[in-house]
């Protein structure tokens, strides 16, 4: 395979467009699920909320304004082909510059503060973005981007379960986390679950799970069935759209898994609001 050179400016332009697009245009997976939920929702208030969310998507896409004022913190999962060389800049700088330009040029809200505890001064360009980069074979760069609002991020949790907790323990922790979140994370939610790995790997998998289209399933049939079972259980909780009661509390449950240690069974639950914004590009 030949070495391919990519200009840093090309990366910046692609990342800028990626974050503007995902903030204006919701994915077809979410749109379809909202339309379906509007038909099946049992509460009149819930139906009305779902209609307003659909109307909101129509306005956001036609006027090219953000779906939600919380345009989130930018998270990128990157598969970097080992035959790519960046010219006239560094890869990471080019990505950060793309995020910066998207949030400034695209009228997206700047929601990042420089220091978490002491200063909390806004960085005014929504950087730094959070990058998870893996090196793969090839001469392309794949970027899966998400912008994560914190109303739902704050409702997320990690628990270091141990093997004896078993499947029941996993289910209980996921349902407890959703129950604790209640009406707060802008239901109907998308529930991203990461199981296995280490403490931080589980959390990262959960984040990645929120960025997977909700009309997909885990490749292992047992986890795919667990996704469906959890979705049904969550929708029986009754929080409903906007937490005002109803039969649609979640649009989807996505599980991602990874091998883990003989002593452990980490589980992370990353809750995402109904505006589950994610988009993938290949450069």
């Amino acid at each position: 395979m030949d070495i391919r050179t990519i200009e840093a400016a090309e990366i910046t332009a692609a990342v800028r467009q990626l974050f503007m697009d995902m903030n204006y245009y919701i994915g077809s997976d979410i749109l379809h699920a909202l339309e379906e939920a509007k038909e099946t929702e049992t509460s009149e208030t819930g139906k009305s909320v779902l209609s307003q969310l659909l109307e909101n998507h129509r306005i956001a896409s036609s006027e090219e304004v953000p779906i939600c004022q919380d345009t989130g913190m930018a998270v990128l999962f990157i598969e970097y082909g080992d035959h790519v060389v960046i010219e006239n800049g560094s890869f990471e700088d080019a990505v950060q510059e793309g995020v910066r330009r998207a949030y400034i040029d695209g009228y997206l809200r700047k929601s990042v503060v420089d220091d978490p505890v002491f200063d909390r001064v806004n960085t005014k360009d929504n950087t730094p973005a959070i990058l998870y980069t893996t090196i793969v074979k090839g001469n392309t760069i794949k970027i899966l981007g998400g912008c994560k609002g914190f109303g739902s991020e704050n409702m997320s949790a990690v628990r270091m379960l141990t093997p004896s907790a078993g499947l029941e323990g996993v289910k209980q922790f996921i349902l407890d986390t959703v129950h604790y979140a209640g009406p707060n994370p802008c239901p109907p939610i998308v529930v991203g679950v990461g199981i296995g790995g280490t403490f931080e790997k589980a959390a990262m998998l959960a984040k990645k799970a929120t960025l997977r289209p909700i009309n997909t399933h885990h490749a292992d049939q047992r986890y795919a069935e667990l996704e469906d079972e959890l979705l049904t259980a969550i929708n029986r909780m009754g929080y409903g759209p906007a937490g005002l009661g109803g039969s649609c509390t979640a649009l989807g449950v996505n599980i991602e898994t990874f091998p883990t240690h003989i002593a452990g069974m980490p589980v992370a639950v990353n809750i995402c609001c109904h505006a589950a914004r994610h988009k993938e590009i290949e450069i």
Binding site: Q52, V65, L108, R120, G182, P183, G243, L244, H274
Partner: protein
């Protein structure tokens, strides 16, 4: 659907019941985490507030920037519970209404009943739709906080639901 003119009167508040759909018209102030912290600290220190909150309705929001030709960018509600720590002190100072999303603490509900205050829920994530009912936005205080500054919004038919009424009844699912 009830059309409500702001500012809220005590009679209007008595007439609002959990679950009522309302359209709010008039003036609201905005404030979220950082502004609440500052207001609360001033109250604790016995200092005057930069904005009078008496009789006001506060909207928990940090709007996105306005595109040219728009009065305000998308501006949906943020989670209310983060303001709970500061809320009773503001209600004791005469705040009459709150607009946000999600649950409130028992301390807030008790203070609402004591002070005759109503809590409205707007639809989280319907920010582009909601912003159409906001006709103007002017910064009142804390400009340095950017999106977290205190604004005055003039709203027309702002859609909300009475989530918790002044008798403490709630429509939010626990």
């Amino acid at each position: 659907m009830k059309r409500i003119q702001l500012p809220l009167t005590d009679e209007t508040i008595k007439d609002l019941h959990a679950g009522d759909s309302v359209l709010l018209t008039g003036s609201v102030i905005t404030g979220r985490d950082a502004a609440h912290k500052r207001l609360f600290e001033l109250i604790e220190q016995g200092k005057p507030l930069p904005v009078s909150i008496e009789g006001e309705v506060i909207y928990y929001v940090g709007p996105a920037p306005a595109k040219p030709g728009h009065a305000v960018g998308p501006a949906g509600p943020t989670s209310s519970y983060r303001m709970d720590k500061y809320t009773p002190a503001l209600l004791d100072r005469g705040l009459k209404g709150m607009i946000g999303k999600g649950a409130r603490s028992q301390e807030v509900i008790d203070s609402m009943v004591k002070n005759g205050v109503v809590y409205f829920a707007a639809i989280g994530g319907a920010a582009a739709l909601i912003s159409r009912s906001i006709r103007s936005a002017e910064i009142l205080a804390y400009e340095d906080l950017g999106t977290e500054a205190i604004y005055r919004f003039e709203v027309v038919d702002f859609p909300a639901i009475v989530a918790i009424d002044a008798a403490g009844n709630s429509v939010l699912v626990k």
